[in-house]
């Protein structure tokens, strides 16, 4: 359990820094939960930026030291690690970032981009770090102007010079060997005698001279990265422009599809290409695009899996794993416009179509209770609903979920399969389970909802117990529209009990409903009511309204006009 930071002993600078960082972490959390245009995200980045500007005015750049236990400013711990995945220290420390500095005037756009990068999902676990699909590379790619970071580099010249741990020793030795051979220590290496000329200074000087001359000489722009953009717009640059045009061609630039082609091509050589490598690569690539929220690309990749059942099984197993499905949920949750939402939901359902049904159900069941987004839950319900046969026991297990909402949604899902389905029977079985567990109550509730029994019981309760005559008459009216046999017993009890205290109209309606619900079963009750003696000491005092009504209904029943005297 993380300890709360006591900031009473912190310096003013540290307190202010802590406030900025808390706001920043809040923004990261919101970015993970909501579309990035959501007011929470917009507000939290604006608040972070405002606090950062406030800090900058008083203290200048925000310079942070990132340690495992938290974030430090001038050796004061300002933000303790709280074991949450959105902690700055949790995000940056494993990536080797040890210092992070944000300039006082950092623009909002840069701060927002940083939050976007920090909040993104990098699906490969730390044990599977890969080039270009990780947080550090993403930070580096963005090439911030106001945000700098320094990373722990175990192969820096200083570290190499100092020596390294055993695992890196051979690499370090080889670096030193090559550096020595090539004269990289400034000693001429194996070939001493540099001629006394500082070659670096000489090159810098001639280059500077050339650069000054080349500023307006378009012919040389082709050779200068500094003028690469300008060169493209010159007549001489047309060929290079065409080269770049090829890169922008969707068919050319579709590296994912192209790689899938190559994988399919390589899979035809099982003697040289291991199936497990194919599976791992395809699964890793799918997770990488899912991490970017690109469901379409992931679905496309899954669609093109090789026919090999082992490869398919291995890939879908990984994509159906809970951590991968969380990425799908995230992508569905942050879809922006309603049109996007519909498309994303459809794509997500399509993606699940590519997975092994049982694995998909198992994965969905494992994440379902934790999914907050109603849209995402709807998609997951769609997945479960269409694969009930593949994993009914797993789905049914969700009836026991601690969250009542989950149990209720799953009950409805099972009931929605129809009365002839195994899912319906499973729900009935849960509803009639021994004891009065919450899941049984919910299951019964849902079944009642669907069969109409619930509404019927509610209205019957009104008829039997409500002190409001109008409400009772209205309930009788509604019950009379589709009288159920189950109404008979409670109405008969009412007739033998309190019914005599009600007025003639209500008595008439209750007995009419009794006949409609019970049919010939009602004859005996009506006979009892009609013959009942109610005078003092059994003395005859004339028929009561209840007796009169009972006789009328009895007569009507005998004449085949049940319920309508």
């Amino acid at each position: 359990m993380a300890r709360k930071l006591d900031d009473s002993k912190l310096s003013a600078k540290a307190k202010h820094a802590g406030a900025v960082l808390n706001e920043l972490q809040k923004a990261i959390r919101f970015f993970r939960l909501y579309p990035h245009e959501h007011p929470f995200c917009v507000q939290s980045t604006a608040d972070s930026h405002a606090r950062l500007l406030g800090f900058g005015e008083r203290f200048g750049a925000l310079e942070l030291q990132i340690q495992r236990e938290g974030v430090f400013v001038d050796d004061e711990l300002v933000l303790r690690e709280s074991e949450q995945s959105t902690d700055l220290s949790q995000l940056l420390h494993p990536e080797g970032v040890r210092e992070l500095s944000i300039e006082a005037g950092c623009p909002l756009e840069e701060l927002r981009d940083m939050v976007t990068i920090l909040s993104a999902h990098y699906p490969e676990g730390q044990e599977e770090v890969s080039f270009a699909a990780d947080l550090l590379t993403s930070l580096w790619r963005r090439d911030f102007a106001s945000i700098e970071y320094k990373i722990q580099d175990q192969l820096s010249p200083t570290a190499v010079q100092a020596g390294q741990d055993e695992a890196l020793a051979p690499i370090v030795q080889r670096i030193e060997e090559v550096v020595g051979e090539l004269g990289g220590r400034g000693d001429g290496g194996d070939d001493p005698g540099g001629g006394g000329l500082d070659i670096d200074a000489f090159l810098a000087e001639v280059d500077e001279r050339a650069l000054a001359q080349a500023l307006d000489d378009k012919a040389t722009w082709a050779t200068m990265p500094e003028r690469a953009e300008d060169y493209l717009h010159t007549p001489q640059g047309a060929g290079r422009q065409a080269l770049l045009g090829r890169l922008r061609d969707p068919l050319q630039g579709d590296t994912l599809g192209r790689a899938a082609d190559v994988v399919a091509w390589g899979s035809a050589r099982p003697d040289l290409v291991a199936r497990e490598d194919v599976a791992r690569f395809l699964a890793g690539s799918t997770l990488a695009v899912l991490g970017k929220g690109d469901l379409q690309a992931a679905a496309g990749l899954l669609e093109r899996l090789p026919d090999d059942p082992d490869v398919r099984g291995a890939v879908t197993q990984r994509v159906a794993a809970p951590e991968a499905l969380q990425l799908v949920v995230q992508a569905v949750s942050v879809a922006r416009t309603p049109a996007d939402q519909a498309a994303v939901e459809a794509t997500a359902l399509g993606l699940f179509e590519r997975l092994e049904p049982a694995a998909a159900v198992q994965g969905v069941v494992s994440i379902y209770p934790g999914v907050e987004s109603p849209r995402a839950r709807r998609v997951l319900q769609g997945v479960l609903g269409s694969r009930l046969e593949a994993g009914l026991p797993a789905v049914t297990s969700l009836l026991e979920a601690p969250d009542e909402r989950v149990a209720r949604e799953i009950s409805r899902l099972l009931a929605g399969a129809g009365r002839d389905s195994a899912a319906w029977r499973a729900l009935q079985s849960a509803a009639h389970a021994q004891g009065s567990s919450r899941s049984a109550t919910i299951a019964r509730d849902v079944l009642d909802e669907l069969t109409g029994e619930k509404g019927l019981r509610e209205r019957l309760a009104v008829v039997l117990e409500s002190p409001d005559r109008d409400a009772r008459l209205a309930a009788l009216e509604q019950l009379g529209r589709s009288p159920r046999p189950s109404l008979f017993d409670p109405l008969a009890r009412l007739a033998h009990g309190d019914l005599s205290r009600r007025d003639a109209e209500e008595v008439d309606r209750v007995l009419g409903l009794l006949v409609a619900a019970g049919g010939l079963r009602a004859v005996r009750t009506l006979n009892d009511l009609a013959d009942r003696r109610t005078g003092l000491l059994g003395a005859w005092s004339g028929p009561t309204p209840l007796q009169q009504a009972a006789r009328r209904h009895l007569e009507a029943l005998k004449q085949g006009r049940g319920g309508a005297p």
């Binding site: 340690q67 495992r68 050796d75 080797g96 490969e124 044990e127 890969s130 080039f131 270009a132 699909a133 990780d134 550090l136 590379t137 722990q152 580099d153 175990q154 192969l155 820096s156 010249p157 200083t158 100092a162 390294q164 695992a167 051979p170 690499i171 030795q173 080889r174 030193e176 060997e177 550096v179 020595g180 090539l182 220590r185 290496g189 070939d191 540099g194 670096d200 000489f202 090159l203 050339a210 080349a214 040389t220 200068m224 990265p225 290079r240 080269l243 770049l244 590296t255 790689a259 082609d261 091509w265 390589g266 050589r269 040289l272 290409v273 490598d277 791992r280 690569f281 690539s285 990488a288």
Partner: protein, 514 residues
Amino acid sequence: MSGRHPGPRGPDDEATAGPPPALDEALARAVEGAEEGFDLEEEEADAGPYQRAGRAERKLVSTLTSVLKVSRLHRLDNVVLSEVLAEFTAALGQHLARRRQVIVLVGENRVFVNGAAIKGKRQGHSWVQDFVEFLARFGLGGLGFRGAWTPEQVRAWLEATLAVQARDPQGRLEELCRLVPGAIHPPAELDLYGPEDAARLVASADDAHLTTSQKAVFYFARLLALVEGSHVAVRAGRSPDFHVRHVRTTLMKTIENLQSSVFQSRLLALTALPVDPREPYAGEGVRVGLLAAAALRLLGLSRGTIADVTFAALYHNLGRALVPPAPRLDGEGEEEEVAAQAVVAGVAAGLRGRGYGEAGLLRVIVAQEHRRAELRLGAAGLRAPHVHSDLVGAVAALVRAEQGTPWSPPRSPRAALAALAAPGAPWDPEVARLLRDLLGALPRGSWVRLRDGSVACVIDGGARRGGLPIARRVAGPGGAPDGRRTVLELDPADVAGDVDPQAVTPAWRRGVLA
């Protein structure tokens, strides 16, 4: 030895002494030593200068400080000193058991142990300040311990410090430098760092203390070691990405440094050197990667894209780790079936890797496509090669031509470059033009005979300077070595012709070096 001053390690250090270890064997140990995943518990490992010191480092410096303090208060055979000496040598021994040396530096009011910082208390006096003051008194910025130390060796060093008579720090330092070598004997070794050296080392988060040429050599060496490791790993049936975290950092820093035209020039010069025959295909991969990175900058692509393609280029020929080239029976080129096998093996190795982002995808794509223009490789159902594959393919062809193959001797860089754009060449002319814009018509590593009969090695093709190369004269008109190794801006009109690459001596080849 010791008492070197000023500074960092020199040519007599043990890393350069003796024959190099068998490359494959050494790197295989690295591959074996590396887990499939990465050890995230790096905190305790030696690290860059952004690491906070741990308990072990603090213990080392605090006991060293105690030794220094007690030695000023008591005789050197005093029991109190013996106790702290034992404690210090034990701590030092533990450090030296894991690393070749322990460098204790002072800078920015902190003490750094192999780059890990110990900061003194904010208030009051502390042993950190005692240590800082001790070093300041002797004009020292740091100490480097190597070898094996016993209490007697430490005592001998203390004796030397006590014998210093000079009154000012500079004088004390000079005296200490004279006394220490006679006092300390192998296997104990002590380096004394002046304040400037220490400050430079402390400030050198990474490479600030290197000259641009040294930096180029360092990053070239670093990439080479890592890619060689990948080739060894592939041969061992492992993932080529066993050190991908370091590849990533190396690429980032290399690409950042390419913004310096001098760095680029020095780095590209290194790509003209002959590959190490012990791991030639890794050497080719590094050369192709670096040339591709520099060429991509001319296209104005983002550094992220450059990194992705460079990654793919570095590993474009991983299949060669398993399937070396074979000449055709008629000696006219390569056996295509073998080349095709190498391509499939390269794809397989890429799939075994861990690159799942754009870089990983490109690696697989480039591995399959980079030779399609040259060879009739089976590619049914595949799209035409990607632009990046064309670029890598052309650069690889250039490097192979420069280095030579089992069926063709090395060609001069000028001839190799010209061949890319020759009529009937399979390469996109725009790609060939791009490489010419990068390297110049007379590329680095070219050997030319000048009109006066002297011989020069081109260091930089001068593309950025209107095609005026920079060259180093290695032999005078009479053929005698040019002892001054004169560097000159070459006027193409002064070039009489190419020197036959077969006639270039190994020593000449190194003319591109600083």
